[in-house]
């Protein structure tokens, strides 16, 4: 190996493992240009692969990211990608999750889901655009599952019918509501929760939504904040505007696969 090859290698290895100061970074760029050598990620990838291997061997030291940090990452993503909102409002103001409150809620959710009896209803005629998207999901993707809202126990929601369609592969779905009471978005909003049996009983936040005055059939796209695998149930709660990270319920409307 020639002197310049050794110097380039050492600089690339140093960049991958400890970083370069400005002078060394300039020197590396000069050498690569002078000898017409492409700058590759080879050593950086190898150092990353070694890091992952050690992380696996030291797995007991790995930590879960704090929930509020994950919430900030979701907000960062909305800003970074400039995601347009539909009629589902992104959760922008979040409070610290309370595990104790969640555990109580999750236990109640599991019990309710287990006790639920499905109430079959027929398909309706929801709003045009979203209705078409929902119909297309059902027709183009045979694996799309459909869950009907069970008869709610709360008398205020006794007349609610409709369904949920969900495609696991696309992570896409829609809810249809008929007879859902109108909410005042200044005071409270509906929030969807997806119960993923593979996710340690933590329900996934499906976003908040409103039922406008004068609406009959309402189609709401599902905006799951995390990937969901074979959801066992979909549950609606009524929360403060913007939604919550941990809901204390009650579950107003539920659709389950059981």
């Amino acid at each position: 190996m020639t002197n310049h090859q050794t110097e380039i290698r050492d600089l690339l290895v140093a960049r991958a493992t400890e970083g370069l100061d400005d002078a060394d970074a300039e020197r590396l760029a000069e050498l690569l240009a002078e000898y017409d050598i492409p700058d590759t990620d080879d050593y950086d990838l190898a150092a990353a692969a070694a890091t992952n291997a050690w992380a696996l061997r030291h797995r007991q030291e790995n930590e879960a990211a704090p929930d509020d940090l994950k919430a900030r990452l979701l907000t960062d993503a909305d800003v970074f990608f400039d995601f347009p909102d539909s009629n589902v409002v992104a959760l922008s103001s979040r409070r610290q999750p309370s595990l104790a409150a969640f555990i109580g809620w999750a236990a109640a959710a599991c019990l309710l889901v287990a006790l639920l009896i499905n109430q079959p209803t027929g398909p309706g005629a929801p709003a045009l655009d979203l209705s078409e998207a929902r119909a297309q999901l059902l027709s183009d993707y045979p694996d799309t599952e459909r869950f009907e809202w069970a008869r709610p126990e709360d008398l205020r929601f006794a007349n609610v019918t409709g369904d949920v369609v969900w495609n696991d592969e696309l992570q896409q779905g829609y809810m249809v509501f008929r007879g859902m009471p109108v909410n005042d978005p200044q005071r409270e909003q509906y929030q969807l929760w997806l119960v993923d049996a593979t996710r340690d009983s933590y329900p996934v936040d499906g976003g908040v939504f409103d039922i406008p005055t004068g609406s009959t059939d309402v189609v709401v796209p599902i905006d799951a904040k995390l990937a969901v695998s074979n959801p066992a149930a979909f549950a609606i709660t009524l929360e403060k505007p913007g939604g919550v990270v941990v809901s204390e319920g009650p579950l107003l409307v539920v659709a389950s696969s059981g």
Binding site: R9, D10, V13, A14, A16, T17, E18, G19, D21, D41, D42, Y43, D44, L45, A46, A47, A48, A49, A50, T51, N52, A53, W54, A55, L56, R57, H58, R59, Q60, E61, N62, E63, A64, A65, P66, L69, K70, R72, L73, L74, D76, A77, F80, F81, F83, L170, Q171, Q172, D200, A224, K225, L226, A227
Partner: protein
Amino acid sequence: MKTTLERIAEGDRKAVAQCIDEYSGLVWSLSRRFFDNQADAEEAVQEVFMDLWENASRFDRQVAAEVTFVSMIARRRLIDRRRKLDRQPRIESLDERDEALCENADAVLEASAEVQNVVDVLRTLKAEQQEVINMASWLGMSHVAIAEQTGIPLGTVKSHIARGLATIRDVLGEAEPDPEAAA
């Protein structure tokens, strides 16, 4: 089957949340190794994910596994940020930490055949070389600090790291499925 970063590169909104779900534990664990201060660690994680989204289209599964690419982006940002903060890497044990263990970081590492391959490759290296690679990649120590701590001459430290990384580099991308075959 497209990977999470491939879906992000195509503008799939759902994949962004999935990316956070899959990799936040790994990136957070790496960041905590670089920074004692929680605020620094959290800011670094936010910067890493910005970098990931910006660079999603650069990911090529023929070159390396997605989890390797994610760690590369993370390490670059973490190294750069630490240099700017001019702080020493933390090398003490994390055993005392009262934090939830990260099951999703473990899952994403265990699911990668490439990570398993690299674990095997590391085992084939001489003990001294393994130790040096561990100090440089996992503990984040500088080459000079490794030489001082081990008593190995600096030139040998650099040589061990370069050869070890070259050996690892040779197995990257091999374990990743053919996109056409997987489709």
